[in-house]
Symmetry: C2
Subunit: 225 residues, 2 copies
Amino acid sequence: MEPIKNIPRLCRTLGYEFANQALLDQALTHRSASNKHNERLEFLGDSILSIVISDALYHQFPKATEGDLSRMRATLVCGKMLAEVAIEFKLGDYLKLGPGELKSGGFRRESILADAVEAIIGAIYLDSGIDNCTRLVLDWYASRLKVIEPINQKDPKTLLQEHLQKFRKPLPVYRVVHTEGDAHEQTFTVECVVENLRQAVVGVASSRRKAEQSAAAQVLELINK
Amino acid sequence: MEPIKNIPRLCRTLGYEFANQALLDQALTHRSASNKHNERLEFLGDSILSIVISDALYHQFPKATEGDLSRMRATLVCGKMLAEVAIEFKLGDYLKLGPGELKSGGFRRESILADAVEAIIGAIYLDSGIDNCTRLVLDWYASRLKVIEPINQKDPKTLLQEHLQKFRKPLPVYRVVHTEGDAHEQTFTVECVVENLRQAVVGVASSRRKAEQSAAAQVLELINK
C-alpha cells in the first residue's frame, strides 16, 4: 500500500496534531482497504458531533423549540453537510480505499467522505478528550452555525405541502391506517398518499402527528431522489 | 399547581444534588403543564446519553463491529429502556403534567417517562458539566451495560427472517424499485414484500444493503405493533 501523502498538511487543515498518529491513519482507512478501518471511530464520532452541535444550538437559540433545534441539528450533521466539510479538508486526497472503491471513484462518494469526517472526530476524541474535540468541531462548523436559523427549518409536512403547491398538485392525504396499544402507549400508523407516487408510504410513531411527519419525510425523500 | 413532592428523595435516587434546582424542576415538567417544559433539555440529554453509551460500548467491546455497536447503543437508548430507568426512579411520582395528561395516565406513558429521563440527563449536564453527567449515567446503566452482548443484537433482516420462519411463512422478497444518482453517490429504493402485509414498505439509503435493512426494520415495526 502506498504511504499516505502529506499528512502534516492535513493536520494543519484540521488544526490538530495527533499524539497517536495511528488513530488518524485508521480514521482515513475505508473498510475496503484494510481490516483496521474507520467504522468504529465513525460510530464514536457520530455521537460526539451530535452533542457538540446540540450544545451549541441549545445556547445559540435560547428560545427555539425542541423541534427547531432537532431540525437544525439534523441539517448540520447530515451526510451532505459532512461531505462538504470533507471537501473543504480535501479529505478525498488522503483516504485509503480498496482497489474497487478507487476505481469507482469512492473518494468522491458522499457517504465515504462523510463517514471519514465522523471517524476523524472520533479519533481526535480518543486522542485528546472531549474538550479539545469540541473546540475543533466548533471551529470547523463556525461558519455553518453562524448562518443557520430556526426559521429556515421547516418540518417535513410543511415542506411536502409547499413542494406540491409549487407544482400545482393536490395536497397529500394523511390517513391513520392502524392504531394499537392502550391509551397511554398507543402506536399510530399513518399512510401518506400523494398523486402520481406509485408507492404507498407509511409512518409509524407514538403520536399521530409524529407518524404523519415521518410519512411526509419519506415521501419527500422519494420525490427528491 | 401543587408543589412537587419529596424532591430530596428523588435526588438521592438519582445520586445527584442540583446546584440549580430550577433545572430539575424544568426536567420534570411535561409540555402539557407549563410553557417552561422539558423538551429542550430532552434534546440535549438525548445527545449526551448517546455519547456516554457510545464511549462505554466502544471500550467494553474492542472487537465489536460498528454494526454491533450501533445495535447495542440503539437497544440501550431506546424509549423502552429509558422508561425502565424512569420506573426504577419512580419518576412518574414526580412528573408535572397538565390536567388532560394526568387524567389519561400520562405519568405511566412510556414516551413521557423516557423523555423525562433524557431531560434529567440534560439538566445534570447543564448543572455540572459532561464529566459528572457521564459518571451518573454510567452508574444508572451499570447493570444494563453488564449484560449487553453483541451476539444478542441482530440486524432487522435477520430478525424479520427468523420471525417469518417461526410462523412458517414465506421469506420476505426484497426488490430494488429505484436507483438514482451517479455511481459515486447512488440512492437505492428497496421494496420489502411480506405475505399478508397489506402495505408496501420501502427503504431508501445510500446502499442496497442499508435500504434493505431499513425496509426490513419498518416491516418489523408494523408486524410487532
